[in-house]
């Protein structure tokens, strides 16, 4: 119906096309190609740095992210905003807090929002996907009918612009950090559901499924022990890409005034949204969190795209 679904379906079919010539498993081959890809290495390095910062941030930050500099110290400067200087590498924000420390501590919140929302979309989406996929491959006529109904619903959700879906979820749940995570996560559910179901359908016709059926293996065992493990790689690729969109989408929600209302907790999206108000006086305050968001999103996108390419037999040379 749409390219969004086309793209998902294409990714879903990838694992079904196995190559037997090399004698190695598909995952091994993909990993080998991945290591040789410059994109993947750069992406992985960015992610590694980001994760280290997110974990260690609060300990290596020179100041507390909420400690405010004295007003008397701030005012003598020409503007209210203090730019970069020896003791504050990135200057102070609009409340006199050390921007560098806030960036470091904020990395953790940003990662948390990205990971939790993607996990939510991943888990719920995969549960729906496994159900629909199992019903479609082994459930007989009734199963196929259930699958059709579920997928119609999923396609309907996919048809809505994601930001709009997130805004409506946020409107129901009120303003909080949890809301942002849920809103961003809900958007991902239909993508994961459709992806896993498609991958399972592609696996469903393969010989080993037929063989296990002939051997009398129980259906639950075929689905959970054979089909699902073989269908997971496109889902993992999508999860990596989703982390990037989740971080950007969370920032957009913050900008629309639906972000975390607790200003004491630094998070890049919220910091960016707040800095917009002082853009004329201190544009750099908006630039720092943006650069953080862009580089992080780029890291996940690079790794995800490289993984997709590594899995895609068409792009192999």
């Amino acid at each position: 119906m749409s390219t969004k679904t086309d793209k998902i379906d294409r990714l879903a079919e990838l694992t079904a096309q196995t190559e037997t010539s090399t004698g190695h498993s598909l995952a091994y081959e993909a990993f080998r190609r991945l290591r040789a890809s410059k994109m993947a290495v750069i992406g992985a390095c960015i992610i590694a740095v980001f994760v280290v910062l997110a974990v260690l941030g609060p300990w290596i930050a020179p100041y507390s992210p909420t400690a405010q500099a004295w007003r008397g110290e701030v005012l003598p400067a020409q503007s209210v905003f203090v730019g970069p200087r020896g003791e504050n590498w990135l200057g102070l924000d609009h409340l006199g807090r050390d921007e560098f420390s806030r960036m470091l501590v904020g990395a953790r919140q940003t990662l948390l929002v990205g990971v939790v929302s993607t996990l939510l979309g991943f888990t719920v989406g995969c549960l729906i996907g496994v159900g629909a996929g199992a019903a479609a491959t082994l459930g007989g006529r009734l199963g196929r009918r259930i699958d059709t109904v579920v997928m119609r619903f999923i396609d309907m959700l996919l048809a809505l612009p994601s930001l709009l879906l997130a805004v409506s979820v946020a409107a129901v749940l009120g303003q909080s950090l949890t809301t942002v995570m849920i809103a961003v996560g809900v958007v991902q559910i239909p993508i994961f559901a459709r992806l896993l179901r498609g991958a399972m359908l592609a696996q469903g016709g393969s010989d080993y499924v037929l063989a296990s059926q002939a051997l009398g293996v129980r259906k639950r065992r075929i689905v959970l022990g054979h089909i699902v493990p073989n269908s997971l790689s496109p889902v993992i690729v999508q999860a990596t890409l989703s982390l990037a969109t989740a971080i950007i989408e969370a920032a957009a929600l913050s900008y629309l005034g639906l972000g975390n209302p607790d200003a004491a907790v630094p998070e890049w999206g919220v910091m960016l949204a707040q800095a917009q108000r002082f853009f004329d006086a201190a544009p750099m305050l908006a630039v720092y969190p943006s650069v953080g968001i862009i580089i992080t999103a780029l890291g996940f996108t690079l790794l995800g795209e490289a993984m997709r390419e590594a899995l895609d037999p068409k792009l192999r040379s």
Binding site: T3, F153, P161, Y255, L272, T301, L302
Partner: protein
């Protein structure tokens, strides 16, 4: 063709019905329910009870849903709590601005994206290819509203090349015919007004075009690369056909099929980006209206907006499918 149109239109019905159920439930789950949604945040408890009775909210859910559906059918989306005007009228009044911006952004993305993607694929691995690919990756990763802010700061505030907000210089007194200001200027012969509106469009359109541009470049590039490897291209070349003929007729024409689909669907998703871009440039379309509606918890506008966008999205999908049928003979057979 007609049968296809009818079939696709019939397929729309369950989708739209499902959406309306979702929206109805959503409205019920809102803090305070539909009564609060109508009255806004400052309603007293007595007001609420009165309104709930007047609206029939004490009746069974399915009766309420029936009424909700009937109102939707009559395009009655309620009244905006911010302006006191019917939501539908507010939308109709603001829609041209958003359409104008989206169309302009899309044209920009197509005009730059397709040639860029094509030449990047032709010289795979060259500097143009590398910068196009990395540029498009970057384009997807930059938050749209941040890009809008940067563009505004550089080109409007610092350099002063473009206006920083609005659709028209105030006090211009241009005649309004269709609501599309550039078109209006051309229709009435007020060329200065058309130019003025166009200049106002440049920066918001650039910001809005960033994501579609990135996607179009990547799609075109991938698609051209795929087609270049096809046997029929080699055959055409070995037949001794002129290079230009092969490129135009065999490569480009086949490569653009998937790109056309993407373009159609991106147009629908532009509306999301328009919310963010319009509010940065105070553009006065439904995007900036929604932004203020979110701030003011103007639920009738939110519900109306979702239904409106969903409808636009679904109709766009249909049009893309039909267009695809016209372009691609292989699809037509099935």
């Amino acid at each position: 063709m007609l049968r296809l149109v009818v079939r696709r239109l019939l397929q729309l019905i369950p989708t739209l019905l499902g959406l309306s159920v979702l929206l109805f439930l959503w409205l019920h789950k809102l803090p305070g329910g539909p009564a609060a949604a109508m009255l806004g945040e400052r309603a007293t408890a007595a007001d609420r009870i009165r309104i709930e009775r007047a609206l029939g909210l004490d009746q069974p859910l399915w009766v309420q849903y029936g009424r909700f559906l009937k109102r939707l059918g009559e395009l009655d989306l309620g009244t905006s709590t911010q302006t006191g005007q019917p939501v539908w009228e507010e939308f109709v009044q603001r829609f041209p601005a958003t359409v104008e911006l989206s169309v302009f952004a899309m044209l920009l993305a197509i005009a730059v994206g397709i040639p860029l993607g094509y030449f990047a694929a032709r010289r795979r691995g060259g500097w143009l290819d590398v910068s196009a690919v990395s540029g498009s990756l970057l384009g997807i990763c930059i938050p749209v509203f941040f890009l809008a802010f940067i563009l505004k700061a550089i080109f409007a505030v610092n350099l002063g090349w473009f206006p920083s907000f609005g659709r028209q210089t105030t006090g211009l007194n241009a005649t309004e015919v269709t609501g599309f200001y550039v078109l209006d200027g051309l229709l009435t012969g007020e060329l200065d007004a058309a130019w003025d509106a166009l200049v106002h469009l440049v920066l918001p359109a650039m910001a809005l075009a960033s994501i579609p541009l990135a996607i179009i470049v990547r799609m075109t590039r991938a698609s051209v690369l795929e087609v270049l490897g096809e046997d029929y291209v080699r055959t055409a070349e070995s037949k001794g056909l002129h290079r230009r003929v092969v490129r135009g007729r065999h490569v480009l024409r086949n490569a653009l099929l998937p790109v056309v689909t993407v373009i159609g669907l991106l147009t629908g998703s532009l509306l999301s980006g328009a919310v963010l871009t319009e509010s940065v440039f105070a553009f006065g379309g439904i995007g900036s209206f929604l932004r203020t509606a979110i701030d003011a918890r103007d639920y009738p506008v939110l519900v109306g907006f979702i239904m409106f966008i969903a409808l636009a999205y679904v109709v766009l999908n249909l049009l893309v499918d039909l267009a695809y049928n016209l372009i691609d003979p292989r699809v037509r057979v099935h």
